[in-house]
């Protein structure tokens, strides 16, 4: 038997097509392509939205029209043509279902393949699942339990109808329509998304979870998530994404807004595994996401993300630490392979006194990919005794990929304490031989070493998510040897 060489591994990696790349055959109700004010109005009308919402969208559209698409030093791609995208797609069947049995069996099969069978999750892990299939929610579970606690967890389209006062007050308050090109676009055309409100003093008894999928060829997806944790409440929210194999680029421009009022805590976890493009770098999802949270007094927001997918990831989940003693955390693993490009990081804006932030970012690059950490730590003059600790580590596999670190650190208060560290390394030959000698083959050894490298982040994920995340890491990295 010949040795399983690095070359073999590389080859195997290259031939490993996107594992979750399959296409669900559900008929879609789709808009013609293109974007103008009429389309924005039509989207709003189709969703039976009140006039204030339509106006809000139109205002955003006008802002967006005046903006230009940003350019970045470290990302290269063919920009999507915004007039060639259909701005609304919803599964054709009736969107409101009371139980899983009513869900299209085709859809359930999809989830089965993903290993995230809704039924099983429901039984085993006590997770309420709000599945977003394309753009409209088709199933919501555990409503009753949540209702009893006064927790609102529903599609945002429903919240617009039933809780306009909350939506009006908070939507766009953290990520304004003017924030950036993609946020403005999202504000104009957002299809659907999740809305969550945790009342004062309530600890949400289960992990809230949404699975996003992009399913319709050529359909941009514009999710909008709004999560409000009222004073003293706690919620853990999971977001996981996979997408079917596609030949053309798909645009995804989501907006996530988190509000943690006094003493509240929000834990927001993401496992993202959208189609990264094939080994030639063809296809793949463009993921331009704006995620931001606001922390009032003593509040805490913790972002955890495992990013393995997308051709292009542009994403900086951020925390505005407005209140005194607020805490912001960012734990991230970003894996890039083949021709993927990831530019991700966080912004920690310290406004209040005694605010603390922690940033742990682990980047793993393989193939021809480019993986950048870009972050900002800002201490305002009023933020006395602010603390930040940042650690950005990169692991390189192979000599065709790149790992980059661009931290911005701005301190305007003398009592600030900031520590930033970054390292770059590769998997050592001696580490591999050691594992081999103990009977662990190279591929498994790499998975083991990479999981060890990302451990500080994986540990932050809720249990049921951590398993899936580890699986994804292995799949994304199989065969990449330095």
């Amino acid at each position: 038997m010949s040795k399983f060489t690095e070359d073999d591994l590389k080859k195997e990696l290259e031939t490993k097509e996107y594992e979750y790349g399959f296409y669900t055959d559900i008929e879609s109700d789709k808009f013609p392509v293109g974007l103008n004010e009429d389309v924005v109005i039509a989207i709003s009308k189709k969703k039976n939205e009140p006039a204030w919402m339509t106006d809000w969208r139109l205002d955003a559209f006008r802002i967006w029209k005046e903006m230009t698409e940003p350019e970045w030093a470290n990302i290269r791609y063919k920009k999507p043509s915004f007039q060639d995208i259909s701005y609304y797609a919803a599964p054709k069947q009736k969107p409101k279902l009371n139980s899983l049995d009513e869900v299209d069996p085709e859809l359930l099969k999809t989830f089965e393949k993903l290993g995230i069978s809704v039924g099983e999750q429901k039984r085993l892990s006590n997770v309420a699942v709000d599945i977003v299939m394309d753009s409209v929610s088709v199933a919501t579970t555990f409503k009753k339990t949540l209702n009893e606690k006064g927790i609102i967890f529903c599609p945002i389209s429903e919240a617009i109808q039933n809780h306009p006062e909350l939506v009006k007050k908070y939507m766009g308050s953290i990520v304004p329509k003017t924030d950036n090109f993609y946020a403005a676009l999202n504000s104009a055309v957002f299809s659907d998304g999740s809305f969550c409100y945790i009342p004062k003093g309530v600890t949400c008894p289960m992990e809230l979870s949404t699975y996003f999928r992009i399913n319709e060829g050529g359909t941009g997806q514009f999710e909008r998530t709004l999560l409000i944790a009222d004073e003293g409440s706690y919620v853990s929210y999971l977001e996981g994404c996979t997408a079917p194999t596609r030949d053309e680029n798909q645009l995804h421009a989501a907006v996530v807004e988190l509000i943690a009022l006094d003493d509240a805590e929000i834990k927001y976890s993401t496992v993202q595994n959208w189609f990264p493009g094939d080994k030639e770098g063809k296809g793949g999802v463009f993921n331009f996401v704006t995620k931001r949270g606001l922390c009032e007094k003593n509040a805490k927001i913790s972002w955890t993300q495992v990013e393995t997918g997308s051709a292009i990831t542009w994403k900086y989940p951020s925390c505005i630490l407005k209140g005194d003693n607020a805490v912001g955390e960012f734990y991230s693993i970003a894996v890039t392979n083949n021709y993927q490009q990831a530019d991700t990081g966080t912004k920690m804006i310290h406004l209040g006194s005694n605010t603390k932030s922690t940033i742990i970012s682990k980047g793993i690059s393989a193939g021809h990919s480019q993986n950048s950490y870009r972050g900002l730590v800002q201490i305002s003059p009023r933020a006395n005794n602010a603390r930040n600790f940042s650690q950005c580590d990169s692991l390189l596999m192979g000599d065709k990929c790149g790992a980059h670190t661009f931290p911005y650190i701005e301190a305007k208060n003398k009592s600030a304490q900031i520590e930033h560290e970054a390292t770059t390394s590769k998997i050592g030959e001696d580490q591999l031989f050691y594992c081999n000698q103990r009977g662990i083959n190279t591929e498994k050894a790499i998975a083991l070493i990479v999981n060890g490298f990302g451990k500080e982040v994986l540990n932050k994920l809720p249990m049921e998510f951590a398993v899936e995340a580890q699986k994804l890491l292995e799949i994304s990295l199989e065969g990449s040897v330095g």
Partner: protein, 440 residues
């Protein structure tokens, strides 16, 4: 007239005054540079590289571009700014013009003289053609501005196998002969194989009038050569400095640049290292001790292009009052540069509310078998250490200064010329406003 227009329109007059040979290399270089500058203009805060430093407040002045040199400057006016207790070569420029009376140059074995004469003499044509403006960053519009008016500065040309035993001091004085003066010195340093040279550079305003210096230095370090370069930046609050230094290193060479910043209104340092060969070592050390509204912006680049090279970067800053520090350190490790060791560290202390530090340590890595790290800390003095010292009878002010000095010391320790080290220690003590009863 806006400064940019004034510069562009005076270009012809400047060239004519020098009776320029239209076929010469330098004419072509200048012409190309003025076009680039005209196209790009001065950088603004919208440029990523100028995000934290605005030139606006200094560019509004009505600068005199070609000041008359004050003839009456004598040794007594300048001696405080020279390191006197060492034997050194001195290149003294007053208001942009070489002062041979105050200088000590040489043409024995090596050339330590001035650029204007090198440009004029056929003997140096080869050196000028081979080196001048070959590594100055063409994307840097301020360097291009300097190149457009390239005329005077230090010309140091050290042949193979030569240890220059005396350090070289390059000092640019401005006397305030005009109300606002723009100076653009240009230095060219070529160090041959196996040679070793130490250079100290300083800019000094002798008056209360406004000076803006836009200086460019190109340094070529050949095989196994060693270059130690010290920049003393302790100018008056009416003086601003834009210093761009470009260094190309060949195999097994060692180049060290120490940037010691204590004064001036706005100081911007662009320091760029380019590697051409294996087993190169680059050292970048910096200290900033600032107060008032002083602003120092250190932009550094180490471009690792070949394997088995090292770079070590350590910048420390102490910021008081309303001073502003900027550190932007970039390390690029290109695909071919396997086995690179690159380390970068930026540590800062903010002493007062109102002081600011903006730090951006960047790594761009395209090779896998490398050891690269960067670290950045911002903090205060260790309160418990302070208390400990006070409890042993050391007054708070002195205790604080001692701790700050200790913080800066690992950079001071890297200064290899003892007299210079003493001078820097004194400057730091003065900046920290203490008199320590012992030699630091």
């Amino acid at each position: 007239m806006e400064l940019k227009e004034k510069l562009v329109s005076s270009f012809l007059a400047f060239e004519n005054k020098g009776n320029i040979d239209l076929d010469s290399t330098v004419h072509a270089i200048r012409l190309n540079a003025i076009h680039n500058f005209e196209k790009e203009g001065f950088p603004t805060k919208k440029d990523e590289d100028w995000k934290y430093t605005s030139l606006k407040p200094i560019l509004k002045e009505d600068f005199s571009l070609f000041p008359n040199a004050e003839k009456s400057v004598g040794y007594k006016n300048i001696k405080d700014y020279l390191i006197n207790d060492i034997d050194s070569y001195n290149l003294i420029f007053v208001d942009g013009q070489f002062n041979s009376f105050l200088s000590e140059t040489t043409h024995e074995d090596c050339d330590i003289c001035v650029l204007s004469s090198a440009l004029a003499r056929p003997k140096y044509k080869m050196v000028i053609d081979n080196y001048l403006n070959t590594i100055s960053n063409k994307k840097n519009s301020l360097s291009e501005l300097n190149t457009a008016f390239v005329k005077e500065g230090a010309f140091i040309n050290i042949p193979k196998n030569m240890i220059v035993h005396k350090p070289i001091q390059i000092i640019n004085f401005s006397t305030g002969s005009e109300k606002e003066v723009l100076l653009q010195p240009r230095n060219l340093v070529v160090v041959g194989e196996n040679s070793h040279v130490q250079i100290i550079e300083r800019h000094q305003n002798l008056s209360k009038n406004t000076t803006l210096t836009n200086s460019v230095t190109e340094i070529f370090v050949h095989k196994r050569a060693i270059v130690d370069y010290y920049k003393i930046q302790n100018d008056s609050n009416e003086s601003s400095l834009i210093d761009s230094t470009f260094i190309t290193q060949k195999q097994q060479s060692v180049a060290t640049v120490n940037t010691l910043s204590f004064g001036g209104k706005i100081t911007r340092n662009n320091l760029e290292f380019y590697h051409e060969g294996e087993n190169i070592t680059s050292n970048l050390n910096g200290i900033s001790v600032l107060n008032d509204k002083q602003h120092v912006d250190n932009h550094t680049l180490v471009d690792h292009k070949s394997p088995n090279c090292e770079s070590h970067e350590l910048y420390k800053g102490i910021y008081a009052d309303k001073s502003v520090g900027v550190f932007n350190g970039k390390v690029i490790v290109r695909q071919a540069a396997q086995k690179t060791n690159a380390f970068q560290q930026n540590n800062s202390i903010l002493i007062d509310d109102g002081a600011t530090i903006n730090s951006k340590p960047q790594l761009e890595i395209f090779a896998d078998d490398v050891k690269c790290s960067h670290g950045c800390t911002i903090g205060q003095l260790d309160e418990s250490a302070l208390f400990y010292m006070q409890s042993r009878g050391i007054p708070k002010k002195e205790a604080k200064a001692l701790l700050l000095y200790a913080f800066a010391n690992d950079v001071v320790e890297k200064i290899k010329i003892p007299q210079l080290k003493t001078l820097i220690t004194k400057i730091i003590a003065k900046k920290l406003n203490v008199q320590l009863g012992f030699e630091l």
